[in-house]
Amino acid sequence: MNRSTRPLRILLAEDSVLLREGLVRVLTEAGFQTVAAVGDATRLEELILEHDPDVAVLDVRMPPTFRDEGVQAAIRLRQLHPDLGILLLSQYVEATYARELLRAGRGGIGYLLKDRVSSLDELRDAIERVADGGTALDPVVVSELMSRRSDPLDALTRRESEVLALMAQGKSNAAIASALVIGTGAVEKNVTGIFLKLGLEDSGSEHRRVLAVLAFLER
């Protein structure tokens, strides 16, 4: 991987010119290189072959029907290009879409509210994680997923459910530790507790853990 030597290459599909220009600027500011920015999802495959991006940033509603083009394109691309990271940005998030995206493949996937883009750090963090094969789920989706499985989650302590929520968003142990202002050791301990209480197998790698947690939540 020569990612350390060159900036991550981004393919952007967003139909609103206003937001597209804003996103290109923010992405550049965050240190990424936008190789192509288009207004719909029809030519994504060609563009990927042409530009070989690391991450595709997609809007959900795009022409021609302005429904869930972005989600459909993401599901398609996950199967065609398992190595491509995909980040969906949307005005609203739906747990239904999150579930479909997670089920569609194993590569890096992100699904965030567009509002999150206003925080440069959050956006950079999400894109890097997705490029790396990790996940970045919006807190709104996570809380919706967690509210559904209230029964088994009731057994968790408050701290454990906080850790679980952040973990489900795709955050690393270090990121969780700094978000909750606790040590990484404490995070590890909580993660072990969570996996024990939910009856999940702790697979070691952080990405795989996240997937296990998400699989549990969307079950």
Partner: protein, 499 residues
């Protein structure tokens, strides 16, 4: 052919197929092609008792009705130059109306399809004397009832009565006369059957009359053939009884349909009234929701955006002399912007849920059910139909509101949700049916201003209905039905994803 006849028993000397067609249920299958098939034929037979129950008293009833109405109208007509004659005619017409209603009830009981009555009003209630008297005189329906009772049905009853009675009696006697000669105690003569010795005259009247010449020739084969033929004719007539009773009842039904039924234009005006009511309900509901939307936008995002503009303006002013304060102001401006976005999102979710727009009703309802904090056992089956978006929206909000009611007000711990399409039938259009049941505390009521009334309005706006059964102590069961526009199965929703 004989295989299909159960246990045929032939008379030893004449070869009479006694058991052949005596039981009509065992009509030879060879005729199946030319006559209605077995099941329909059996169904017709099953209708025979009810139709006979209608036809048997019909001629007496029709006769009485004819006499009463004719005498009454004659009395009234004779006295018409005195005011009392008019009253008598009017009362006669009112009587004819109720007799017509009675006839329709009898027809319904005979198993015929229901006939919609005119939209009668009570004859006297809430009317002035003059109005009560003149109204029947000016109403076509009253006069048609009179024509039906006093003229048409009477003559029809004579015909149908004679035909039915003659048919059945002739059929039975033709069929059973030879049987009778078998069973009849022997009066001592050696010959047990017909022949030149005179028994025929006692046992077989029609045959003896018709075969007088043949008898003279003393040809037993011809006599036998004739009797066999007449017996078969009797059996055939018995076999055709269902068609006769059905046809005769149908004739009465047709006359009633013509004279006692509501005019199509009346249905149309009812339809128009229902449409107007439904449209008003829709307009009222829309007005409410638009007002609420306006208030929500005014109280929320609009205020925040104005404050945002003010904050940004002061940040702009302070940029030069007090950058620290300017940055702090811009931070709060960002928070305001975020809050505005959240509010707008909640608002759009409130009238145009994204998933509903993107994926349609089934997906949106499944998502609602998944999101509910109380477990929802949901089953959505739209039979591959693409519903009009306004119906999807109405259905979605009815379900959403009911689910949240069950969680918030009823303290339910389990909710059952069923959404399915009832195909059209019995003159009813295809309908989207919603059923939601919770095990909560019940006692939900339609109180003005309460959410449930809004839902009823929403359903009414779609020409639908919403029913609530919610005894105190639960369970609460709400059913809603929204008629779907008449069109065949739309192309199955192709998923929105297209390559």
């Amino acid at each position: 052919m004989s295989q299909s006849i159960p246990a045929p028993s032939f008379h030893p000397s004449s070869g009479l197929p006694i058991g052949s067609s005596a039981s009509p249920g065992s009509e030879p299958s060879a005729t199946a092609a030319s006559r209605p098939s077995g099941p329909l034929y059996l169904r017709l037979w099953r209708g025979v008792p009810r139709e006979l129950g209608y036809l048997a008293p019909t001629w007496i009833i029709a006769l009485v009705v004819f006499n009463v109405l004719t005498v009454a109208i004659s009395a009234g007509a004779g006295l018409v130059f005195l005011f009392v004659g008019i009253i008598i005619v009017s009362l006669t017409l009112i009587l004819a109306r109720y007799l017509g209603t009675f006839e329709l009830m009898r027809l319904r009981a005979s198993g015929m399809p229901p006939i919609a009555e005119p939209r009668w009003t009570p004859p006297f209630e809430g009317k002035t004397f003059i109005r009560a008297i003149t109204e029947p005189l000016a109403s076509a329906h009253y006069w048609l009832s009179y024509v039906h009772g006093a003229i048409v049905n009477f003559f029809l009853a004579i015909i149908t009565g004679v035909v039915t009675f003659t048919w059945i009696v002739t059929g039975l006697s033709l069929l059973f006369t030879p049987l009778w000669s078998l069973i009849k105690p022997n009066d001592g003569t050696t010959s047990t059957f017909y022949g030149p010795d005179g028994q025929i005259g006692n046992d077989w009247n029609i045959a003896s009359l018709m075969s007088y010449g043949i008898w003279d020739r003393q040809d037993p084969t011809l006599v036998g053939l004739l009797i066999t033929g007449l017996t078969l004719l009797g059996a055939g007539m018995i076999a055709l009884i269902p068609f006769v009773t059905h046809g005769m009842t149908y004739a009465h039904w047709g006359a009633a349909r013509l004279l006692l039924a509501r005019f199509p234009s009346e249905d149309m005006s009812t339809e128009v009234a229902a449409l107007a009511a439904s449209q008003r309900a829709a307009v009222v509901a829309e007005d409410h929701s638009l007002r609420r939307l306006e208030r929500d936008i005014h109280d929320g995002p609009q205020q925040r955006l104005m404050r945002l503009q003010m904050d940004l303006a002061s940040a702009e002013r302070r940029m030069a002399d007090n950058p620290t304060e300017a940055v702090a102001l811009m931070g709060s401006a960002r928070t305001l912007a975020q809050e505005t976005l959240d509010e707008l999102r909640a608002l759009t979710q409130g009238f145009a849920p994204p998933l509903l727009q993107d994926r349609g009703l089934a997906a949106a309802i499944e998502a609602l059910a998944l999101r509910s904090s109380v477990p929802v056992d949901s089953r959505v089956d739209l039979a591959g139909r693409q519903l009009p978006s306004e119906i999807e929206r109405a259905a979605y909000f009815i379900v959403a509101e009911l689910l949240s009611n069950a969680v918030k007000h009823a303290d339910a711990t389990a909710i059952t949700l069923r959404v399915h399409v009832l195909e059209e039938g019995e003159g009813l259009p295809a309908t989207l049916a919603l059923e939601i049941e919770d095990d909560g505390r019940g006692g939900a009521q339609l109180v003005s201003g309460h959410g449930l009334v809004g839902l009823t309005e929403r359903a009414a706006g779609m020409r639908g209905t919403l029913d609530i059964v919610s005894p105190v102590g639960g369970p609460t069961r709400v059913t809603a039905a929204i008629p779907l526009p008449a069109l065949g199965l739309a192309a199955a929703p192709t998923g929105v994803g297209r390559a």
